[in-house]
């Protein structure tokens, strides 16, 4: 019969709605309140030194709203006023300098969209299929448009020694300070000292008022609440670049300075949190692809666990070191599927299988797992995280 939502007068079509003064800074409508960052309690000892996950299953396009972009803190997110903000540049420089927040706004600035991925994203999956949701297997990633000053501008201002065998050591103002060493070549290339994301001030949890943006490199180096840049003649070998964020091989030796995040992709719908509910017929398979080496040039999708591949359509030409959305517009016949995506970047790098990665690195690397992910979709349209032969 006729749809009463159409034939009957509805409340919202008769009564008035919310006034313009009701939510000066809006939140998503209540019906979307499940689309939030989530943590997995047992992963860490305390939520203050922990991580949560972006709900990438429920987002589309490429830009991550700040309010649901994953957080990783080592001593909690701090409240630091712009007025109390200081940035020091020292070390091998002609002029050690201190900048205020206002000072930073007077340097020429740039806008760039970049992804930020934690080195541990997908890290739980090394030893096998673990968590049943793309938010948890791949949600340590976000993608924002940053506004900021190139780090090289500030290095030049201080008269830094920019010989390529030099390093910059960067640290935050929070209790962990999270110091990391960055080789000079990268510091001069595309590193940004950013103070806006997606057009607005950085949120507290993303490093308000100023954070470092290190395009294509592991998220731990994107120091939040950036307070100091020191030019040094060697890597500091801080806790975050030796005891953590190093990759242990099967033979017990480890790789260090593994900064670049290699090409990776994952299907976000359908996925365990996003089952197919509409039955057979037209189906949009969609997901995200990214590479720390540059642009995504191609994404292939398989419905049979890697026997046959089809090239997906990119939502738009991939930006360098930014998330690229892909779509495979297809027909679902209602039979089970083993869904996989495989990204390629402008260097010709092809995203590896789990088997390829394990052959190289074993199962204890923790970090930098960029393997091809498989979802088993059953005849009801329910998807599950699996591994395949």
């Amino acid at each position: 019969g006729a749809d009463p939502l159409i034939t009957e007068l509805q409340d919202w079509a008769s009564y008035t709605g919310a006034g313009v003064d009701e939510t000066p800074y809006g939140m998503p409508i209540s019906f979307e309140s499940h689309v939030v960052r989530r943590n997995v309690e047992w992963l860490t000892a305390s939520p203050i030194s922990s991580i949560n996950f972006t709900p990438i299953h429920a987002l589309d396009g490429t830009i991550t709203p700040q309010g649901c972009a994953f957080e990783r803190h080592h001593s909690g997110a701090i409240e630091l006023r712009k007025e109390d903000y200081r940035l020091m540049i020292n070390g091998l420089v002609d002029r050690p300098l201190v900048f205020t927040y206002e000072d930073l706004e007077r340097f020429p600035r740039e806008n760039h969209v970049y992804f930020c991925e934690c080195a541990a994203n997908t890290g739980m999956e090394w030893a096998g299929a673990q968590l049943n949701g793309v938010q948890f297997t791949h949600g340590m990633i976000h993608n924002m448009e940053y506004t900021g000053v190139p780090l090289r501008t500030l290095l030049r201002e201080a008269g830094a020694d920019i010989a390529l065998d030099k390093w910059v050591y960067v640290e935050g103002a929070d209790a962990s300070s999270n110091g990391r060493s960055i080789p000079m070549e990268k510091a001069l290339d595309d590193v940004l000292v950013a103070f806006k994301a997606n057009g607005e001030a950085l949120r507290m949890e993303h490093g308000y008022p100023v954070r470092l943006v290190v395009p294509g490199w592991e998220g731990n180096m994107w120091v939040k609440w950036l307070r100091r840049v020191e030019v040094t003649d060697m890597a500091v070998e801080s806790r975050e670049e030796t005891s953590k964020y190093t990759d242990v091989y099967a033979d017990g030796t480890a790789r260090k300075w593994t900064w670049v995040m290699d090409a990776k992709s994952v299907i976000t719908t359908p996925s365990p949190q996003m089952p197919i509910t509409h039955g057979p017929g037209p189906l949009v398979i969609s997901g995200l692809a990214w590479s720390g080496h540059g642009q995504i040039t191609r994404v292939d999708v398989s419905k049979d666990g890697g026997i046959t591949w089809e090239t997906a359509r990119l939502g738009k030409q991939g930006d360098t070191k930014a998330l690229t959305r892909f779509y495979l517009d297809t027909e679902w016949d209602g039979a089970p599927m083993l869904l996989q995506a495989r990204a390629m970047d402008e260097t010709g790098y092809v995203q590896p299988t789990k088997e390829q990665l394990r052959d190289q690195r074993g199962e204890n690397a923790v970090y930098h797992n960029n393997c091809i992910q498989t979802w088993y979709v059953n005849a009801e349209g329910i998807a599950e995280n699996v591994e395949v032969s």
């Binding site: 007077r106 673990q130 480890a254 890697g306 088993y376």
Partner: protein, 377 residues
């Protein structure tokens, strides 16, 4: 139908025209930020004492270390007071907090134990991190001598030095860590990229594919946020295999496991301003204590229903002996006792493992008391 087709074709043409015109209007006007000759003259000189205050990092060769030293014996005392509540008396780690000792020759095992002794390549890393970022929740409060002593004790707990060892700035660079040669600089370009930059297979890439493992944890999302996960009881038996012809059969759906039910906690309202202030003060406690819905014991006991409960009485928490004694005596946490304790924890409860120096302001004490009072059992 031919009219419809003609209209569609015209529409396509029109769209192409509009798009072509639009693309001509979009010239590339973007450019990187300009570089200038010389500098902008923005910022002010950093003063020597400012650089000294912030530039405290220590390089692998020991540059940056302040004068001083500390021995194992002193280190054991400092460690017990400031570190053991999370890392254990013998650096063995409590709950999920890091283990600092042992784990030698486990790096190639299924579950490597990466400790300061077994894994860290440079001693400077330990000194720098402890001095800079520890204790958790009270970073930046350790003196140079305390830091030397703690590092000496951690080396001792790893059997890397004798009990009479003293670590100083002078002998620091002589110390070689156990795993100093265990690291290779990133060699992915040679080991991996060279082989993986190849045109990928598109058809008949495998003969048959089977599911070899299903997710271990099914994730459940409680309404108040975060996520619980339950073990997935499903087996890989009964799943189809795949060939180029598609799945071998269409299986029946398996029943979904029941979600975990969450308990709601009871709270009593308090004055909102005081509550807000109390919540702020509680930030100093959060590293070790939880309160409210679902609060669990961490390095410290949960604080639900604190006011009125017997000291040392939370189930499943390993109290220090001073609290065990208070439990035996039946001492009760009332507001006065709490205020006195929080003002000077180590004076009020001599021997407590709580590494917190105390709240100095009366208004902070009032706020935290009100805040904790608002959380019932």
């Amino acid at each position: 139908a031919s009219v419809e087709a003609q209209r569609a074709a015209e529409l396509e043409l029109k769209i192409a025209e509009v798009q072509a015109a639009a693309s001509q209007r979009v010239a590339s006007l973007t450019a990187p930020a300009p570089a200038v000759e010389g500098t902008y003259g923005i910022g002010r000189p950093a003063l020597d004492e400012e650089v000294a205050a912030w530039d405290v990092d220590v390089l692998p060769d020991g540059r940056g270390l302040p004068a001083g030293g500390g021995d194992v014996f002193t280190g054991e005392e400092v460690f017990a007071e400031k570190c053991a509540s999370c890392h254990g008396d013998f650096a063995e780690g409590v709950d999920n907090w890091p283990v600092l000792a042992g784990g030698f020759d486990t790096l190639a095992d299924e579950d490597p134990v990466k400790t300061v002794g077994s894994y860290w390549p440079y001693l400077s890393t330990a000194w720098d991190y402890i001095h800079r970022s520890m204790p958790f929740g009270e970073a930046g409060t350790l003196t140079a001598d305390e830091t030397y002593a703690i590092v000496a004790y951690i080396l001792y707990s790893n059997d890397l030095v004798d009990d009479n060892f003293e670590l100083t700035r002078e002998n620091f660079a002589d110390f070689n860590m156990y795993n100093m040669d265990g690291f290779t600089v990133d060699d992915r370009p040679e080991q991996e990229y060279a082989a993986w930059r190849a045109e990928p297979c598109m058809e008949n890439c495998k003969d048959e594919v089977q599911v070899t493992m299903r997710s271990v944890f099914l994730v459940d999302t409680p309404p108040e946020g975060g996520s619980d996960s339950v073990m997935n009881p499903a087996s890989i038996d009964g799943l189809p295999s795949f060939t180029a012809a598609g799945p071998s059969f269409i299986p029946e759906a398996a029943p979904k496991p029941a979600p975990v039910v969450q308990k709601a906690a009871v709270t009593q309202p308090a004055a909102p301003d005081l509550m807000e202030a109390g919540e702020k003060v509680f930030k100093k406690c959060k590293a070790c204590h939880q309160v409210g819905e679902g609060a669990k014991n961490r390095s410290g006991p949960h604080l639900n229903g604190l006011i009125g409960r017997t000291m040392g009485s939370v189930d499943g928490f390993a109290y220090s002996s001073v609290f065990a004694a208070a439990l035996d005596e039946g001492r009760i946490w009332d507001e006065a006792a709490l205020a006195e304790f929080l003002a000077k924890p180590k004076t009020y409860m001599k021997g407590t493992k709580m590494s917190f120096s105390g709240l100095k302001k009366d208004e902070d004490l009032a706020a935290i008391t009100a805040y904790l009072k608002s959380y019932g059992e």
